[in-house]
Point group: C2
Chain length 348, copies 2
């Protein structure tokens, strides 16, 4: 939360075309399906495989706060949230297009920093940056990323194909990104009230990291391939576990029992939630931004993943008439309701 000491070159001094040249510098496309990247009216791609395509808008003041979000991390995260959708289809991301709207508060150096993160994510996830758009904004920063992935037709996994008797599985742990956000917001308030108080996020690297620089679960897609498991349905967790379970159930026309005791929550997330007087399970159910994968598998595949540290079996798919239930630690059954933060409720 300190003022940047880097130089400030207004973008207007170099103009849109030179800025694009600067962004394009050093970009190499590695995939055979990328025929033409940045530099024409459109990029050109070609693959014999099926493609998945997804897009996400990130808006300053809604999705991120630059008071505590380094631009490099923001660029990285903007790519990751899109790739997470590609993995949720059981596909491999290959290309992205990046559009930016920038107010004159942003310098050439700020764009460089943002692209450092974007390019780092491209490198990590082996994705070609093939195009986009760069424009002015009257206020704030907007990032719109479109990601394209590839998969064999028979490998693509939808939300609408879970079947009664399937097991519900989630990767990693949940709720940490939400707790990270609470910590960052608390420190922001302290800083606003007294800029001389040093931020105290010691011991919270994990939760804060999950908020600021999440990863998409490419490793889980590879693991499922290795274990020869084709999920019967899959979705990524961006809005919270409840909301995503409800999507799968609604689209597959099935019910579900989610067992609270099996929902994976990291100890630091758990304990910090308590200090905020939040029930940790609610962080998992409704926190969102976990970018973990939620999927269903045939019961006969259960033995392949049992005891895997990165995968938890958290429930079963049941008949639609039985509803979508949370089986609590206290052995009660509640209707699972979507409390995912609905961006459009933001009253600003």
């Amino acid at each position: 939360m300190s003022e940047s000491k880097t130089p400030f070159t207004p973008i207007s001094t170099i103009g849109e075309f030179k800025l694009i040249d600067r962004i394009a510098e050093g970009i190499e496309c590695v995939h055979s399906s990328t025929i033409k990247g940045i530099g024409d009216d459109a990029a050109v791609i070609h693959t014999p495989l099926h493609q998945v395509i997804t897009t996400d808008l990130l808006i300053e003041g809604i999705h991120f706060d630059l008071m505590y979000t380094p631009l490099k991390h923001l660029g990285y995260k903007a790519v990751v949230v899109n790739l997470s959708d590609v993995f949720a289809m059981n596909a491999q991301p290959k290309q992205i297009l990046v559009s930016l709207a920038l107010s004159n508060r942003f310098s050439v150096e700020a764009v460089d920093e943002l692209y450092e993160g974007i390019k780092a994510a491209c490198k990590k996830y082996n994705v070609d940056l093939i195009g986009g758009d760069t424009t002015a904004s009257p206020k704030g920063l907007t990032i719109c990323i479109t990601a394209i992935g590839e998969a064999k037709k028979e490998k693509i996994v939808y939300r609408n194909s879970a079947k009664e008797g399937d097991l519900l599985v989630v990767s990693g742990d949940l709720g940490a990104a939400y707790i990270g956000l609470q910590l960052l917001e608390r420190e922001k308030q302290i800083f606003i009230e007294n800029p001389n108080v040093k931020t105290d996020l010691k011991g919270h690297d994990y939760t804060v990291g999950r908020q600021l620089k999440p990863e998409a679960r490419m490793d889980i897609i590879e693991l499922l391939e290795k274990f020869n498991i084709l999920p019967t349905s899959m979705i990524d967790i961006s809005d919270g576990l409840s909301s995503e379970i409800l999507h799968i159930c609604q689209q597959s026309n099935v019910g579900c029992v989610l067992h609270e005791e099996y929902v994976p929550i990291d100890p630091n997330t758990y304990n910090t939630a308590l200090t905020f007087n939040i029930d940790p399970i609610n962080c998992a159910l409704s926190g969102g931004e976990d970018y973990e994968l939620l999927f269903t598998i045939r019961p006969e595949d259960a033995s392949k993943i049992k005891n895997h540290p990165d995968l938890s079996i958290i429930g079963e798919i049941i008949d639609a008439n039985l509803g979508v239930k949370l089986h609590s630690k206290g052995d009660n059954y509640y209707d699972l309701i979507s409390m995912g933060w609905d961006n459009l409720d933001a009253d600003k």
Copy 2:
């Protein structure tokens, strides 16, 4: 420029998911390459052809002014500007993804109106709406559209393949959208000063229409196919003729002579430019937003298009060392410079 009388249902009363259901209602995907549209983590597409992909951000206060832009026209235009890029690759658009960020100033009815225009453009240009993102915005409206087109590999036309001796051709006429914008801005000022004065845009339907509801030149792509002409290079005119000629010349490593006398300018554009004390040629060179196609052809193809009312041969490609020149009506040669409005110069 009158207050809307339609009801105002806040988006927060229905929420993001219901809004998406509402948008998705009645959408039918017609193309065989669209495997899965709205409703999963990503859309799924598949084609044996090559694909072109392009994206554009439209920001309120930069690219449009809702004081004089009907939302339906805006939705239509937002699609068209992307399809224009697809046609500029000599490809046929097949799918679009639409992302919106909306402040709470926008009602459910406003979103309906915007999508009416988006869907009208999809119908007109035979394009499937396959996905997108919808989110809140702290201020104003942002639209990000990604368009995907298809073409045989050998039919795709790039910017970098113009050759010495080729002829430079442009479709339609230029500068009208810029004049339309000047007229709308003038009426806006009059309205601000005195809301009781009636707007007077009589006789300016063409120029105002070119600004508010442009079309992309699908017909020209079909015409070229019919005439069996494969352009040697092509680009669409979004920033102004000068800027686009310079792109082709720079990327093809050639020079060009543009003959002022052959640049097609509509009479109403011409005369209205004079009333604004603007040299009409400057509207064509630097006005932008024409969404016409600029391309180069082999000289042997010239006879096929000669005297076609929608196509004008406006120059020749020459050696790079001779530069990029405007041959004026007064028989002088000037260096052509890019005066295209550089969005990033907007100092807001």
